[in-house]
């Protein structure tokens, strides 16, 4: 027996009016959005309690594509915005989905401070190693020697190790996957959605049109071949050693712990003060 369905079972998660999307053929952003939507569906997340926040960039379009309350902030500010949403209504699940440039160049300060406070927002970074939207200039995650429009002879700036940065800054859940690790990524997003504190997933993502073609990986397939060849799963290994090089991409979960969140401590402090004041 076959069943006729009128609508794609995941249609409710996306805004049809915003399609077609702007992402290039072969872009990894669709895989990330797909994994996110699968995680929402598997957990049956209450969409009325979910907020998606993005900054500016190719991946930033996610805020417009997901059919939930969402906000597309200015470049670099999604975490600051999400902080406000979470504090105004701690019951909401607030997820930031944004780019490596947005979260770690222009908005880098917000990331380390949100992690330090352990505010319960969830951050998914699409790391495509460049500023995709503005034409592929190098940014804070561009690997050494990589060629970009602003590093035609190869990048000489050391990139961030994002999972190390997140762990050192105070995040309580930290993972890295590539777009090839769809199942693990989805499982990881499910965990991220279930954790209380500041949680972070880096998704190493292919950008064949803007980044790959300048770095001898002209197609999505070639970029994913790299992920396949280089990826080494090392769960709960030292994030400081989780390198991304042409030879090796260390992926896995690096941290999963609990500590009081900022909103819990805030509530506690407020109760304590009101009690002292006899209210």
């Amino acid at each position: 027996m076959t069943e006729v369905v009128e609508q794609h079972p995941f249609a409710k998660y996306l805004r049809e009016a915003m399609m077609p999307h702007i992402w290039c053929t072969g872009c990894g952003n669709g895989i990330i959005l797909n994994a996110f939507v699968h995680a929402l569906d598997e957990l049956q997340i209450d969409l009325d309690k979910l907020v998606v926040v993005s900054g500016i960039g190719c991946i930033g379009r996610t805020a417009g594509y997901t059919n939930v309350d969402s906000f597309h902030t200015t470049h670099g500010r999604p975490i600051a915005f999400a902080t406000g949403v979470k504090l105004a209504n701690p019951e909401l699940e607030v997820v930031v989905i944004s780019g490596d440039g947005d979260l770690f160049a222009i908005g880098g300060n917000h990331f380390i401070h949100a992690a330090r406070r352990n505010i319960g927002i969830k951050v998914i970074c699409a790391n495509n190693f460049n500023y995709g939207m503005t034409g592929g200039q190098f940014g804070p995650t561009t690997p050494l020697k990589a060629s970009t429009p602003t590093t035609p002879y190869g990048n000489i700036e050391h990139p961030f190790n994002l999972v190390h940065l997140a762990a050192a800054s105070g995040a309580t859940y930290v993972a890295r996957w590539t777009t090839l690790h769809v199942r693990m990524l989805t499982a990881s997003i499910k965990k991220l959605l279930q954790r209380k504190g500041f949680s972070f997933i880096e998704v190493v993502s292919q950008c064949p049109e803007i980044f790959g073609r300048r770095n001898k990986m002209r197609t999505a397939l070639e970029m994913m071949e790299w992920f396949k060849k280089a990826a080494v799963i090392a769960n709960f290994s030292d994030p400081a050693k989780a390198e991304i090089t042409p030879e090796k991409i260390v992926v896995g979960e690096f941290l999963d712990l609990e500590k009081p969140t900022f909103e819990e401590l805030l509530r506690e402090k407020m109760n304590e003060i009101s009690k002292e004041n006899g209210e």
């Binding site: 597309h72 200015t74 470049h75 222009i106 880098g108 503005t134 034409g135 804070p140 602003t150 035609p152």
Partner: protein
Amino acid sequence: MKSAVEQKILALNGDEAVAYAVKQSDVDVVAAYPITPQTIIVERFSEYVANGEVETAFVCTESEHSALTACLAASLAGARTFTASASAGLALMHEILFVTSGCRAPVVMAIANRALSAPINIHGDQSDTMAQRDSGWIQIYAENAQEVYDSIIQAFRIAEHPDVLLPTIVGLDGFTLSHSVENVNALPDEEVKKFVGTRRFPNALTHEGKTAPLKLDPDYPMTLGPLAFPNYYFEFKRQQEEAMKNALSVIKQVHDEYARISGRRYGDGLLEPYKLEDAEIAIVCVGSTAGTVKTVIDDLRTEGVKAGLLRIRTFRPLPVQGIREALEHVKAVAVMDRSMSFGGQGGAVFHEVRHALYDSSKHPLTVNYIYGLGGRDTSPSQIREIYTDLQEIVKKNRVEEPVKYVGLRE
């Protein structure tokens, strides 16, 4: 006017014209962060750097705030310095814009004019620079890619002039100029190099009682940008205003000197009138729209309508007297604003033109047209309608609606 030197015709868009002019202007430091529609400027320039065509230190910072801070520092250390941005990028520089002008650091910056969020929009309007008009920067707006090229070269001379020492913005309308390819006459490299020369520094008295060029130099230690409380702050600001006044004549001088080499003039460098001497009705505008207005004027003139234009090329410092003298005799003036001053009854250009006309004994009737926000196109037929409105206004001798909107759904 004839050119004194042979020039090369290049097919460049406005952004490329900026990059080319910067390449020829012997710039020491460029620091920038990419943003549409400015990106091409920095990309082209980084190619020049990579090809060894310039001896410029090129710094890709992690935001515009850092880009301008790096330029400020380089400029204070004596370097010739350039950056470029647009929209949110310029807004993010806001804090440092005031530090740069307050430190009298002659940084030159190209702005590919673009709308501000929210809602998000990458297209052309002038909200970004108009919002920074009180930041102490000189503002020059170009009409086409040729003028973009010419203005950037002039900007270094203006900004670095010892009587001025003010940072300078050259505005080019996003996409209309930044991304449209035109023929651009480029001067030979040596001519530009000779024209811009090397930076000159006024002398300052150091805390050790020595006289030294005003820049950071380990041989003559001095502190720049220190505290100045109620006892001194005010005097600093008054001096900036004096420098702006000086800039009015320096911009004209530099423009004249450049015209002798290039054969190109844009009015007197401050204002460019078009068929204005005998005009009865006139439009005032800033930037690329002037090109459209000129073609409409040509049509109207063949029909016997005495229409004219005053293009404001230099918006800061505002040539108040020039505006008054140029428009006094006109019966009705339509001022076009490509940005809004919410709650201010009309846009910034309108306010300033009306202000300039207040001291005239003959008060032309003035009306404001807000247009082209977020990149909305303004057609020749819409410009024609403005002139038709002006004819009505002259007939009735009265302005019924002081602020109107061009091509808006209401």
